[in-house]
């Protein structure tokens, strides 16, 4: 019995080799960047390195986007629900955090509890229409619900709370994770949350519930025939997804100086959709890689091309759709066998010549 557990423990690390390496690289990243600039790790530790602080900020944005994209991937890639109102989950987290911290002076812990409750309510709201509408109609109804939410946030009547079309400003972030003075801590907390959700999702997908979700994506009628109450499973996926997106929203509200009402708009949902499609639909690490690619591409193009960036960005997406049909991770998985074979052939060639 003991032997079995040790074996599975070994397997766990072996299976998550890539993840472990990523965590290692990401934990050393700020310090390495600091070294390039001439700042010692101690200075970076005290948040004094300029470039490393900047890189941390960019990475935090990627982490937030990755958490958000993960939640969308669970809904769209794994359960097969095309929702166009996903940004509502995110915006609920962001706005509720801001409002509770700013207007009601609650502590962060209580705020997060409220956000979690709101996330569950949101998911149930979407769940209410689940049995009635399917496919593209579900997408439209969710779009409708989210647009009403978006309009509510934008409306002048709620302006005192939400800041109307300017956005929610000056959210008092607790001092111990303030992005201005304690950014390194913020960075590691965001990374930890991302890793936590990634592991939870991995576990979820390979759990019996997750398996049924995949079955629903493949063929809902068949899953129904097999005796599963598909509604319950879809609702479970919705709740998990909603909670994750709301947590991403919480981090967003704490990190960004302004929560713009765009976070509730269709643009944000489409961004998540693009990230998932770039990374590979239905692959969890695809969402992470897609988020990094999307954010870095956007950032780089804006920095070096200026106004034309949007144009180039759009072109790149069209090219990805045309030539990388399964996203980065999906294509990699398809080709990895070929790549391994080619690699072996190359090694064999060298061995022969030796």
């Amino acid at each position: 019995m003991v032997k079995v557990t040790s074996k599975s423990k070994l397997n766990f690390f072996k299976r998550n080799q890539g993840l472990a390496i990523t965590i290692l690289v990401l934990s050393f990243l700020p310090f390495v960047v600091g070294l390039f600039e001439g700042a010692s790790p101690a200075q970076v530790w005290l948040n004094q390195g300029g470039t490393s602080k900047f890189i941390e900020g960019l990475a935090i944005e990627i982490f937030i986007l990755a958490i958000f994209a993960l939640s969308y991937d669970l809904l769209f890639g794994i359960t097969g629900l095309l929702s166009l109102g996903h940004s509502m989950f995110f915006a609920t987290g962001a706005y509720l955090t801001g409002i509770l911290l700013k207007n009601f002076q609650m502590s962060l812990g209580v705020t997060i509890l409220w956000v979690l409750a709101a996330a569950v309510i949101n998911a149930i709201l979407f769940g209410l229409v689940l049995p009635r509408v399917k496919g593209i109609t579900f997408a439209l109804v969710t779009l409708g619900i989210a647009s009403v939410f978006h309009i509510l946030i934008m409306s002048r009547e709620l302006g005192a709370l939400t800041g109307a079309d300017v956005g929610l400003q000056r959210v008092p972030t607790p001092a111990f994770i303030s992005p201005a003075t304690e950014r390194l801590r913020f960075y590691f907390i965001a990374l930890a949350i991302l890793i936590f959700f990634f592991l939870v999702y991995k576990r979820f997908v390979s759990s019996p519930v997750g398996r049924v979700c995949v079955a629903i994506r493949e063929n809902e009628d068949r899953a129904l025939m097999l005796g599963y109450n598909t509604f319950v499973f879809k609702l479970a996926a919705l709740i998990l997804s909603s909670i994750t997106a709301s947590v991403a929203g919480v981090i967003h509200a704490l990190y960004q100086p302004i929560v713009s009402p765009n976070t509730a708009g269709l643009v944000y949902t489409i961004m998540a959709l693009l990230v998932v499609l770039i990374g590979g639909v239905g692959t969890l690490n695809g969402a992470l890689i897609g988020a990094a690619v999307y954010r870095l591409l956007d950032f780089g193009l804006r920095r070096y091309l200026g106004e034309v960036a949007g144009f180039v960005n759009g072109t790149i997406y069209v090219l990805i759709v045309l030539f990388l049909p399964y996203g980065i991770v999906g294509t990699w998985r398809l080709k990895s066998l070929n790549i391994r074979q080619g690699w072996n052939r190359l090694l064999g060639y060298f061995q022969k010549s030796n």
């Binding site: 095309l82 229409v129 009635r132 509408v133 399917k134 593209i136 109609t137 439209l140 109804v141 779009l143 409708g144 619900i145 647009s147 009403v148 309009i151 509510l152 934008m154 409306s155 002048r156 009547e157 269709l266 489409i270 959709l273 693009l274 499609l277 639909v281 106004e307 034309v308 949007g310 144009f311 960005n313 759009g314 072109t315 997406y317 069209v318 759709v321 045309l322 049909p325």
Partner: protein, 515 residues
């Protein structure tokens, strides 16, 4: 019969409820108010319908959710504006465009050439890439040196009202056409012709499946000669053509602008379908992403070319009269004085916005209806919406029908853009709001149902205008003193709520059938 009625009960009840709602809403207003609201609703509905109908045809037949439809609508408005306000730029652009396009009309010749080259051995690959490189290099060399009178966007954005007023009076002084300086006209024409021929040939070699075309006849060259001739003629008669368009009555100029827009739209749709959408028929969700990407590209292109400021497009002279006898009180007055407004039930009604646009909308509706019900193409389209594979199995070239329908849908959206430009004005955001309206209209009416698209658009337009009107006059809440005035955010919210309610009662929309 009884059974049918029972099955359709929710549908009839919903329709009845909507009717009652609008009748009650109309009862709360004065006569002139509800006439204006009705006409405005029809107007907004017509523009929405022009976009929604194309969208629904494309979705029904091709299963493609063309999210770029709103951008195409915006593009149509900007193209019409350019032709209308700046005919000189349009004439300057005519020559290079026609010359570059002409090479692509020779597809049969290229097929023949490819066959010959294939028999000769491996020449094809070399010729293909060399041709592409030389063709694109020639374009890159010639196009920036080709003189095109470019406008200063700031001029139009700083004082759009002044400009539109001047245009109404026909007082805009167009800048002098630029002379050929860095390149001689002869070299430009020959270079563009060569570039077009080489690129078209190289691109056609990529289409490996092309078959047929064993012999050539003079008919294959007709279109090419016509396009080429037109291009050269536009170059030779550049100045006179410009001054002719400049002196033309704005009504005719508006018609020319609309037809140029529709032609560009049809061409754009055809090219989009055959090069971008066609490879993705087996991957539906990627079409969504592709069209989203395309819409971003189109939006950025509009921003790069026309800039961010909002433009006003002057109304054509037929609908712009303000002199004696205006506002018109009778139809005869309207006809003789070309008034911009007409008095109806003591209310002032803008002729272009509230009468002309709905009229065009109704004409297009009837036209498409006849096309769908009475023509062979319409029969194929209707059959294809029901069962695409079966139509294919019956030996009909579905590919070509797809292309036609896509081109038609894009053309309709462009027409809508051109029509809406004088009433709505031009901005970078006009496409997004409209595609959302169109989507809501389609969801209400039934996604692939053509009458549904019309009904949905009408409902969306009417509801929005009713809410806007009540925002001005207010709703007295019974038994209290409070007067509730719907705020502007409620306008889009109301249509969205209507959509959600309709979809929850009837998941396939008001007129849609169960799949």
């Amino acid at each position: 019969m009884k059974n049918n009625l029972r099955k359709d009960l929710p549908r009839w009840l919903t329709l009845l409820a909507l009717l009652v709602f609008f009748v009650v809403a109309a009862r709360g207003m004065e006569t002139k108010d509800w006439v204006i609201t009705l006409l405005r609703g029809l107007s907004v509905g017509s523009v929405t319908f022009l976009v929604a109908s194309g969208f629904s045809l494309i979705f029904g037949l091709l299963d493609v959710l063309n999210m770029a439809h709103g951008t195409v609508f915006m593009l149509g408005a900007y193209i019409a504006w350019t032709v209308y306000v700046r005919p000189d730029t349009f004439v300057d652009l005519l020559t290079p465009t026609l010359l570059l396009l002409s090479g692509f009309t020779l597809s049969t010749v290229w097929k023949r050439l490819v066959r010959i080259l294939k028999q000769k051995g491996n020449w094809l690959v070399i010729v293909r890439w060399a041709g592409l490189a030389v063709g694109i290099a020639a374009m890159i060399y010639i196009l920036p040196r080709y003189p095109i009178t470019i406008w200063d966007v700031g001029n139009y954005s700083q004082s759009p009202v002044t400009y539109s007023y001047l245009a109404d009076q026909g007082l805009i002084n167009l800048p002098q056409g630029l002379p050929f300086e860095e390149i001689s006209p002869m070299a430009a024409v020959i270079g563009l012709m060569a570039a077009s021929l080489l690129t078209a040939f190289s691109l056609s070699t990529f289409n490996s499946r092309s078959q047929g075309a064993t012999s050539l006849s003079w008919k294959d060259f007709i279109v090419y000669v016509i396009l080429f001739g037109l291009g050269v003629a536009a170059l030779i008669f550049n100045d006179s053509l410009t001054s002719f368009l400049d002196g033309l009555d704005t009504t005719w100029l508006f018609l020319i602008a609309l037809s140029v827009g529709v032609m560009v739209g049809v061409l754009l749709g055809s090219v989009m379908e055959s090069t971008l959408i066609r490879p993705l028929y087996s991957r539906p969700i990627y079409q969504l992403m592709l069209t989203l990407g395309l819409s971003a590209i189109g939006m950025e292109a509009v921003r790069a070319i026309w800039g961010r400021p909002e433009f006003v497009m002057p109304k054509p002279s037929l609908f712009a009269g303000v002199g004696d006898g205006c506002p018109a009180t009778s139809l005869a007055d309207l006809w003789t004085n070309h008034c911009s407004t007409i008095m109806l039930f003591d209310g002032r009604i803008r002729v272009y916005n509230e009468i002309f646009i709905p009229l065009v909308g109704i004409i297009v509706l009837v036209g498409i209806w006849i096309l769908l019900q009475r023509s062979r193409l319409g029969m194929i389209i209707r059959a294809g919406v029901q069962d695409r594979e079966m139509v294919e199995a019956l030996g009909i070239n579905v590919q070509r029908v797809f292309n036609t329908v896509f081109a038609m849908g894009v053309g309709l959206a462009v027409l809508g853009g051109g029509l809406a430009a004088p009433s709505m004005g031009l901005s970078n955001a006009m496409g997004e709001t409209l595609i959302l309206n169109a989507l809501i209209a389609l969801a209400i009416g039934g996604l692939t149902n053509f009458p549904g698209a019309a009904l949905g658009s009408l409902l969306v337009g009417l509801l929005q205008q009713v809410i806007i009107k009540y925002g001005a006059i207010g709703i007295p809440i019974p038994f209290t003193e409070i007067v509730f005035k719907p705020t502007p955010p409620l306008v889009p919210a109301s249509t969205v709520l209507l959509m959600v309610f309709v979809l929850l009662i009837l998941p396939n929309g008001l007129l849609g059938r169960k799949e």
